[in-house]
């Protein structure tokens, strides 16, 4: 019954608010899992089609419609005096209800965000609505777990408990306490994260905000630029810089940004499930660095590269069909279509001769494909690699003697021992690297940007 009500609320949204990917995705989930919801959905679509048919008269009626709507307003004005008295009564009652925290929620108000919870969350306050719909003004207080907020503006906020924040609307968060890391795409530039002490306006792409129990705030810019405003003035912060602000709003000096501080949130943005420990996840670089310098001996590394990025062209790379692949059993090719929303990470190991390395990583979303040949890697470095990392052969121009290829067909056994397995869940990847000196094998993994839901 709840599904049905939720669906009806969504269907009754204004067309502009309804025809959005977030609302469509929620409707899709509802009708896919509940026959009653599916029937209601069909009835509603037929209802709207019939209304359209009933009113698809002569567009020359337009002027009559405008004047009728205007007339309706004028009639309403005539009732204004009477209404004022009623409103006064309603205002007093409303204020009373609001002050008691029991003001009824208005049906059909816009959706500010969708909550993406790849794991169980223990909520400290009121639990969010079913299906992860977050309406403007919703306060989220998580005691354990982590979640993503996909805001209507396009920004994505990764939050890790303990965190207490309010989703003011699709363009603004207010953080009372905790760590929040926000990835802001081009179209959401201007997205705001406010605290009691500081207001942060995004002018770039990726930043983190920490608010401690005393209300002190820190703003760390991991990529791009933000404007940080306190009651003492404004300050632009760029990649690699951070600012601390005390709880009276007084800014302290600018310090280097610390990517590690938001590593859990960044993992969440990149879709890495908690508990992955056999592959070392590298801290987010906040200054330019060569890929060779990130790699250390003795373990396989994972560099989180891009989160929530839209493919600007169709990509043809190795498919993510479950199975074990090596130089003799190469994966088939697949196409990830243009406009798909993905996150990427680079898995690497080797560089110099060492003992065989192995590790497993689980993502909380499906793997879509893997770039593993030199050409696939070179081709995707610029657009889907990390902005501050210089890869082995930038723009395909050979600069390093190291080979980044994962499988080399028909060569020595040492090279062909590299292999990887995609597990049947489609989300877990086991990598085995047994490379020779001078080899620096790499895999760029493309995963879906969205958690598939329960």
């Amino acid at each position: 019954m709840k599904d049905r009500d939720a669906l009806l609320n969504l269907l009754q949204l204004p067309r502009e608010a309804r025809e959005t990917p977030i609302v469509f995705s929620t409707i899709r989930q509802l009708i896919a899992r509940d026959d009653e919801a599916l029937r209601l959905y069909i009835r509603w679509a037929a209802f709207e089609a019939s209304l359209s048919r009933a009113f698809s008269g002569d567009p020359s009626e337009r002027s009559q419609i405008v004047s009728a709507v205007r007339r309706q307003r004028n009639q309403a004005f005539g009732q204004w005096i009477g209404l004022m008295l009623t409103l006064l009564l309603i205002s007093v009652t409303g204020f009373y209800l609001w002050s008691r925290g029991s003001f009824p929620k208005e049906a059909g108000v816009p959706i500010a965000a969708q909550l993406d919870t790849p794991e169980q969350i223990l909520w400290g306050g009121k639990e969010p609505e079913q299906l992860g719909i977050v309406r403007p003004g919703t306060r989220l207080n998580a005691l354990t777990g982590r979640f993503l907020l996909r805001l209507d503006s396009g920004a994505v906020a990764a939050c890790t408990a303990p965190v207490d924040l309010e989703v003011v609307d699709g363009w603004e968060l207010f953080v009372h306490r905790g760590d929040v890391c926000v990835q802001v795409p081009q179209q959401a530039r201007g997205f705001r994260v406010n605290t009691e002490a500081v207001k942060v306006v995004d002018l770039g792409t990726l930043f983190g905000v920490r608010v401690d129990d005393e209300g002190r705030a820190e703003v760390h810019v991991l990529e791009g630029r933000v404007q940080s405003t306190t009651r003492f003035g404004s300050q632009d912060l760029t990649t690699g810089f951070a600012q601390k602000v005390d709880n009276s709003g007084r800014p302290e000096k600018i310090i280097p940004a610390v990517g590690e501080m938001f590593s859990t949130q960044l993992s969440s943005l990149a879709g890495i499930a908690p508990g992955t420990d056999s592959i070392r996840i590298l801290p987010h670089p906040v200054s330019p660095v060569r890929i060779e310098d990130l790699n250390q001996e003795g373990t396989i590394h994972l560099l989180m590269e891009r989160a929530q990025i839209t493919l600007d062209t169709t990509l043809e790379i190795a498919s993510s069909l479950p199975g074990t692949y090596d130089a003799q059993h190469l994966p088939k090719l697949t196409k990830i279509p243009k406009d798909a929303l993905v996150s990427t990470c680079l898995i690497m190991g080797g560089k110099t001769s060492s003992a065989p390395l192995g590790g497993t990583i689980t993502f909380d979303r499906p793997i879509l494909g893997i770039a593993l040949s030199s050409s696939q890697l070179d081709m995707t470095d610029r657009r889907y690699g990390h902005r501050l990392v210089q890869y082995l052969n930038p723009e395909g121009v050979k600069q390093s003697s190291l080979s980044r290829v994962f499988f080399t067909e028909g060569t020595a056994a040492a090279t062909t021992a590299n292999r990887f397995t995609i597990h049947p869940d489609g989300r877990t990847l086991t990598v085995h690297i047994d490379s020779a000196s001078g080899e620096f094998p790499q895999l760029r993994v493309f995963i879906a940007a969205r958690h598939e839901g329960p």
Binding site: R28, R43, L51, A54, R62, R73, P337
Partner: protein, 177 residues
């Protein structure tokens, strides 16, 4: 088909298409839920139906035949755009099946709707008309009538709910009789 046969076929096609287009539109809107997409697809289906009209078996229900074309259009359409409402052919098939099963209910709903629209007051009727008349939008109406858009949205929401309730009640009464 010879030119003259084609010409007389055209007359027949227009008659059949006019009678069936509402059903096809409903079908498309259910599949995509986006008005603009449903309108575009309806035009495409119309063109394809005319192009393939020679293949149409006169023993078959024309609307069902046109819905088959619509289904293929939606499938190829959805394959291109990931964020559309229906993305899997499974769900598409379930919807198509359900429309088939519920066809009588939907017909009753259509009749009930015309009754309920008669009972609307003139102001509410005009707002619905503004929403559904081709080439008009609530935004334009709000600007020209000097009314806040949010206010019109809320009115529209209320009217939709009121009419849908009326339709549901009337259908229930029809079943009880």
């Amino acid at each position: 088909m010879e030119p003259t046969a084609r010409q007389s076929g055209h007359g027949e096609f227009i008659r059949l298409w006019t009678a069936a287009s509402h059903r096809v539109h409903t079908y498309l809107l259910t599949m995509v839920l986006s008005w603009a997409d449903a309108e575009d697809l309806l035009q495409e289906v119309g063109v394809t139906a005319w192009e393939k009209f020679d293949e149409y078996d006169r023993q078959r229900d024309f609307a069902a035949w046109a819905c088959g074309i619509a289904r293929n259009k939606v499938l190829s359409f959805n394959q291109l755009v990931w964020h559309r409402l229906v993305q899997s052919s499974d769900l598409l098939d379930r919807i198509a099946q359900e429309i088939e099963v519920e066809s009588q209910v939907l017909e009753q709903q259509n009749e009930a709707l015309f009754f309920c629209l008669q009972r609307l007051n003139e102001g509410d009727r005009r707002i619905l008309q503004a929403r559904y008349t081709p080439g008009m939008s609530l935004k334009k109406i709000a600007q020209e009538a000097g009314r806040p858009l949010q206010g019109l949205y809320k009115s529209l929401q209320r009217i939709h709910a009121q009419v849908f309730d009326c339709v549901t009640r009337r259908m229930a009464m029809g079943r009880d009789r």
